[in-house]
């Protein structure tokens, strides 16, 4: 079993009496990349700053490689935590050259030059040692920030929205590059992002956070197929909800019976989170459902369908045949896997 590098226990932080982080418990194992995903203002950056030591927790604790660094009685300042941080604005020291920026955190007793050289090699910036930060492009600045954080060989590397400062074209390219660097460095990483693609691309596991609370920590597929909460279902893959009644052996809905184990009591009304690919659309002149909106999504049409009950669902149809607005259709529930069910709102 791998060692736990970062452990947060019941972490809590209030800003003027409103909780920014509420009872967050989280662990990251050695060499793992954990993505902390959530909408802006959900407390993900505060969580990271608590781990780095830029904020003091109001309750709970942070443990780094078995060493307690923060709880209501203990506070180890950031400079003694061996935590590398890549800031959203990179925070490169404007008065220091690339090499001096990278060397800043390397201890004197180490061979600084060799270390700087090695890290700049890793991020592919050899030859730019003497440049000043403002002479670099956005992507280069980001790699310097990454190199600077990696140079002291931190126990854990924290990245705060690392790609938000780059324009869309550059972002895809840099994302792949950063993913490579992180894997090669073997570092333990927490990466904070509001972008689901980034979280899925970079994270071994993804922690979804909302309103100061961690809703679910899991691998990407699991978040998509088995969301633990209604928020996760909506935030990941934009699910919609189909009401149904719990039976002994499954869920009865207006578009079909779903045989699957149920946790809720028989007879209760619940909602199943579904994605467009969980439904099948059949053109049927006798069908009671109507197409109310269409859009083309490279390779398939996406339809919005109004069911006889008035509920709206979305489903995909092949790009070989197109159904115009108002077409009478039938919709069937055919997920091929259990759907997550939540109590009705």
């Amino acid at each position: 079993m791998s060692a736990i590098t970062v452990r947060c226990e019941q972490l809590r932080k209030l800003f003027s009496h409103t909780p920014a982080v509420y009872n967050v418990t989280l662990s990251v194992i050695d060499g793992e990349i954990l993505a902390l995903l959530g909408p802006s203002g959900c407390g993900k950056t505060t969580t990271m700053r608590l781990i780095a030591g830029f904020e003091r927790p109001d309750a709970g604790s942070v443990t780094l490689s078995g060493r307690l660094v923060a709880d209501p009685h203990v506070f180890v300042p950031p400079e003694q935590r061996q935590v590398g941080m890549v800031f959203q604005n990179y925070a490169l020291f404007p008065h220091l050259s690339v090499a001096d920026n990278v060397a800043y955190g390397v201890a004197r007793r180490q061979d600084r030059q060799a270390r700087v050289h090695a890290v700049l090699d890793l991020v592919g910036l050899n030859g730019l040692e003497r440049r000043m930060p403002h002479e670099l492009s956005g992507g280069q600045q980001q790699r310097v920030a990454l190199a600077r954080a990696l140079a002291p060989q931190p126990q854990v590397l924290l990245l705060d929205e690392p790609f938000s400062g780059l324009d869309a074209g550059l972002r895809d390219q840099v994302r792949g590059e950063v993913a490579r660097i992180l894997r090669e460095s073997g570092a333990t990483v927490i990466i904070v992002t509001h972008n689901q693609n980034e979280a899925f691309l970079l994270g071994d596991r993804v922690a979804v956070m909302n309103a100061g609370v961690i809703e679910q920590v899991a691998q990407s597929e699991e978040l998509y197929l088995a969301p633990a909460t209604r928020f996760v279902a909506e935030f990941i893959g934009a699910a919609f909800f189909i009401p149904g009644v719990v039976q002994a052996d499954g869920l009865e809905t207006e578009i079909g019976f779903l045989p699957q184990p149920m946790r809720q009591t028989v007879g209760a009304t619940v909602e199943a989170a579904a994605h467009p690919d969980d439904l099948t659309l059949i053109a049927d002149p006798q069908g009671a459902a109507r197409i109310t909106n269409t859009s083309y999504r490279g390779g398939a049409y996406l339809y919005e369908v109004r069911l006889p009950s008035g509920n709206l669902v979305r489903c995909e149809g092949p790009h070989t045949s197109f159904y115009p607005l108002g077409t009478s259709v039938r919709v069937e529930l055919t997920p091929g896997h259990p759907l997550a069910c939540f109590p009705k709102n």
Binding site: L14, A59, P77, E79, A91, E135
Partner: protein
């Protein structure tokens, strides 16, 4: 769930508050803050004490028509100087930013220069050019036989001098606003069917209003605080009346009038602070905006050129020519610059000392204000800012009373003069240091902490080097203003301690115009030196950062 736990949470907050606030460093910062607060309050409080000991006659004098007249004259001068400055500055700013007027870069570069001319030097040069028996009159007499000109002394002289010296404040703030203005706003107006003229009045001018207000109040404050120009032009505003009273040893009376002046300037400073806050909302995105669009003037270029050249001619070329004229007359009469050695050294020594000490005090004060936000620090910040309201003559008067009565061992010594400079110029220094501290993003310090350096090392290796340009700018500004400061130096300098400012003053007040030229020129050159360095550095910095 939350109702169970508020008690322990509250305790935790209190403890962390204490550990954060009262470490050794913070205690030191608060100590400096308290000392500065005492120093800044000293003049006003002492004047209040003095005034309250004034007898009934002094109070009656205060309420007499003369005081009301002085108040009226002071306000009238401030108002008219501001209005004429706006009339000069707005077209000049607009021409140099938004039109293709010939040589616009030259006009833009020359226009702020009158700021380096001390008001008493400006007044003396104006008087010797346009006054009775001045150069203009002599010229007219030989050519046209005109023997008398309308007298320059009094209101017209003060108005002309102060306007030509202080309009750059308005010019700079209006120019900055024009440069910052999003061209899309005017384009939107055009797309909605408004022509250039309608757009100018409907969009541009309203957007300039905060800049006009802020710059205008700076001009008004300059006028209210000025002593040199009104004294030489013999126009009885508050500062001149205070000086006269002081000389006639009617000190309680002087204290009373000084307090009235403080009340007036405080009002203007408060107004200015309000406008500054409002102006903040008018600045849109700070992101890279498109440069302003340039309007083709066509054949209107030539009147525009004449206008720009005329303003520069009056505010810069005329004083320069007069200065040169008196300098040559002085040389012809056997004046030598050598005689000014002691005065020059004294001026540099006193101003340099003031610059270093003021910035050394401003640094901890700014750290306190920026990094330890709270009601107490914002109060301290406001107090520092309100020191803008203290005219030199008032601070000097208060310190003379205080020194002579309570600390005779300090009276007429250099430290007391430096204290006066500190009180007068700390708002500038804090303003500069504070804004460069604000430009250092807190994440820079956090990044350094995260890389394993303690707070002291981070301050030395990151904060201080990044702050250096700001500290340098603050020190140069204090140096420049301290060099020019007349009333405080006049009243507080040790016996026999002559500076360039007092040398100019004593020569001019006895109408030895030729004798005043050399120290005036030296004064302008020495005080504009740091400013030139600053401007060049700033331009280099901008060029470096624009190369991206």
């Amino acid at each position: 769930m939350q109702t169970v736990e508020p008690m322990p949470l509250l305790k935790i907050e209190q403890r962390s508050w204490r550990t954060f606030r009262f470490s050794g460093v913070t205690l030191f910062l608060w100590g400096i803050g308290a000392l500065v607060a005492v120093a800044l309050l000293l003049p006003t409080l002492y004047l209040i004490i003095r005034a309250s000991s004034a007898d009934g006659a002094a109070w009656q004098n205060l309420l007499r028509l003369r005081t009301v007249e002085t108040l009226g004259r002071t306000l009238w001068l401030a108002l008219t100087v501001t209005a004429t400055s706006a009339l000069i500055a707005v077209p000049l700013a607009w021409f140099t930013v938004r039109t293709d007027v010939p040589l616009r870069r030259v006009w833009a570069a020359l226009a702020p220069l009158p700021l380096v001319i001390p008001s008493y030097v400006g007044a003396y040069l104006m008087a010797s050019a346009l006054g009775p028996r001045g150069l203009l009159q002599q010229l007219l007499e030989t050519v046209l036989g005109i023997e008398r000109l309308p007298s320059l002394y009094g209101f017209p002289g003060a108005l002309i001098t102060l306007t030509l010296l202080s309009y750059p404040y308005l010019l700079l703030s209006v120019r900055a606003a024009l440069l910052r203005m999003d061209p899309a706003l005017e384009e939107a107006s055009h797309s909605l069917g408004r022509n250039v003229w309608q757009t100018f009045w409907g969009v541009t001018i309203p957007l300039l209003r905060p800049a006009l207000g802020a710059g205008g109040l700076l001009v008004a404050l300059y006028t209210l605080r000025d002593f040199g120009a009104v004294a030489l032009m013999r126009y009885d505003t508050f500062t001149r009346v205070i000086y006269t009273q002081y000389q006639s040893f009617d000190r309680s009376q002087a204290a009373l009038i000084a307090l009235v002046l403080i009340a007036v300037t405080l009002l203007f400073v408060a107004l200015e602070a309000r406008l500054q806050r409002r102006a903040y909302y008018f600045q849109g995105d700070t992101g890279a905006l498109r440069p302003p669009t340039v309007i083709q003037l066509g054949r209107w270029r030539w009147p525009a050129l004449l206008y720009c050249a005329g303003i520069i001619c009056f505010s810069l070329a005329l004083p320069a020519i007069m200065l040169l004229y008196w300098l040559l007359r002085g040389v012809a009469a056997g004046e030598t610059i050598m005689a000014l050695g002691a005065a020059t050294w004294n001026a540099i020594w006193a101003s340099g000392l003031a610059a270093v000490i003021t910035v050394a005090v401003a640094l901890p004060l700014s750290l306190l204000v920026v990094r330890h936000r709270g009601w107490l620090t914002s109060l301290l910040e406001r107090l520092t800012y309100s020191a803008y309201a203290l005219p030199g003559i008032v601070v000097a008067l208060a310190l003379v009373f205080f020194g002579a009565n309570h600390v005779p061992w300090l009276y007429q010594t250099l430290p007391l003069l430096i204290l006066a400079y500190l009180i007068l110029f700390i708002p500038q220094a804090v303003g500069t240091v504070r804004s460069s501290l604000l430009q250092i993003h807190p994440t820079l310090e956090e990044a350094a902490r995260g890389l394993g350096k303690g707070p002291a090392r981070v301050f030395l290796t990151i904060t201080l080097p990044l702050l250096r340009p700001g500290l340098l700018a603050g020190a140069s500004m204090v140096f420049l203003t301290a060099m020019k400061e007349l009333p405080a130096t006049l009243l507080l300098a040790p016996l026999g301690f002559k500076t360039l400012a007092t040398a100019v003053w004593s020569a001019v007040s006895e109408a030895f115009f030729a004798e005043a030229a050399a120290p005036a020129l030296l004064l302008i050159l020495l005080s504009s030196l740091p400013m030139t360095v600053l401007i060049l550095r700033e331009q280099n910095y901008e060029r470096d950062h624009r190369s991206l």
